[in-house]
């Protein structure tokens, strides 16, 4: 939701790291996006195309590695992907869970040219 703000932050982070390496331009960005991160990749791409224009990130390709939600049941120890209508553990019906993956939103790496 409101991906312009996060896309602006993404541009700042990428340019900062590229400039630290004296790179001439950024060619690719590798993002990790969890299913429960509430970030929509199409919206990020839309804003990215606009705000990267005129920067060393112009034309850089965004790669989204989508991570599904995986819950670990603290009662029976099993891992599962929750159904959208029922979050409880399908093995033991427990509700004591920890989110193993699915909430990520970070920039993993960038590719640059010197």
């Amino acid at each position: 939701m409101h991906e312009l703000a996060v896309t602006e932050s993404l541009l700042e982070i990428a340019v900062r790291h590229a400039q630290a390496q004296n790179a001439r331009c950024i060619t690719d960005l590798y993002l990790v996006l969890g299913q429960w991160s509430s970030i929509v990749d199409d919206s990020v791409q839309f804003y990215w195309d606009i705000i990267s224009d005129g920067t060393i990130a112009k034309g850089a390709i965004l790669h989204f590695r989508r991570v599904p939600v995986l819950l670990t049941c603290q009662d029976c120890g099993k891992e599962y992907q929750p159904a959208s209508e029922e979050f409880a553990c399908p093995y033991c019906n427990g509700t004591h869970v920890k989110v193993k993956t699915g909430e990520e939103f970070h920039l993993e790496a960038i590719d640059v040219e010197e």
Binding site: M1, H2, A5, V6, E8, S9, L10, I13, A14, H17, A18, Q21, A23, T27, D28, W36, S38, L71, P82, S84, E85, E86, F87, A88, T95, H96, V97, K98, F105, H106, L107, E108, A109, I110, D111, V112, E113, E114
Partner: protein
């Protein structure tokens, strides 16, 4: 030949950075702040009115209200006894740290113990915009239905307390409390929950006691620093 640079940096927006500044201002003034969120009509303002009436004699309470238009809610809080600031967001569907910062400049934090921030009625966007409050509270209500945790996981997951309001309507609308609570429990294990009715007063004392306890704990921790 492109060269790979590892980054692994969380994408913290400028809003989050400003929220940290707001938090510092609250801490420096020893003021405990809560962010109250809910869909429109769930009972945010009613809960705040009852809170100000119930605790206003013992705590000095300020209130910041965010709405697209009108000062209805700030007026109600003011009538109940709080110092109230109205932010009209001019179309924004949520409060953000910038708006809260501007409200903080209008409040004399040195004269307050508790600031209650009433967010814009919305179960989606406020979850993504930190304000700098110490705790966040979601007000759910019986007529909204029992499937809301499943439909709005981001909101339910991120809050510190859930108030289930309008329990006086349980005999009249379909609502499976166990289904509702199971959704909350998985998303937010052990989250503090209250069942109450702002209208009849049932269950209100538990909420008031918890909030007052939170303020006292915070103030004591500030003194010990």
């Amino acid at each position: 030949m492109p060269q790979r640079i590892p980054v692994v940096e969380k994408i913290l927006s400028a809003n989050d950075r400003l929220a940290l500044e707001n938090r510092s201002r609250f801490d420096a003034a020893k003021v405990f702040a809560i962010n109250v969120m809910a869909s429109p009509g769930a009972g945010k303002t009613s809960l705040i009115e009852q809170t100000v009436k119930g605790l206003g004699g013992r705590l000095r309470i300020g209130m910041i209200n965010g709405d697209i238009a009108t000062s209805f809610d700030a007026d109600r809080a003011q009538a109940a006894g709080a110092t109230a600031i109205q932010i009209n967001t001019g179309g924004d569907c949520h409060l953000d740290a910038v708006m809260v910062q501007s409200a903080l400049f209008q409040l004399d934090l040195g004269t307050l113990d508790l600031v209650i921030i009433e967010n814009v009625g919305n179960l989606v966007c406020p979850a993504d915009f930190k304000l700098g409050a110490h705790k966040s509270v979601l007000v759910a209500s019986i007529p909204e239905g029992d499937d809301k945790p499943y439909k709005y996981p981001g909101m339910y997951r991120g809050v510190n307390a859930v108030v289930i309001n309008k329990i006086d309507l349980l005999p009249y609308v379909p609502f499976r409390m166990d289904f509702f609570k199971r959704g909350i429990e998985v998303l937010n294990p052990g989250v503090t929950q209250f069942e109450l009715s702002c209208r009849t007063g049932e269950g209100l004392s538990g909420w008031l006691a918890w909030l007052e306890g939170q303020v006292k704990e915070f103030t004591a921790a500030c003194i010990n620093l």
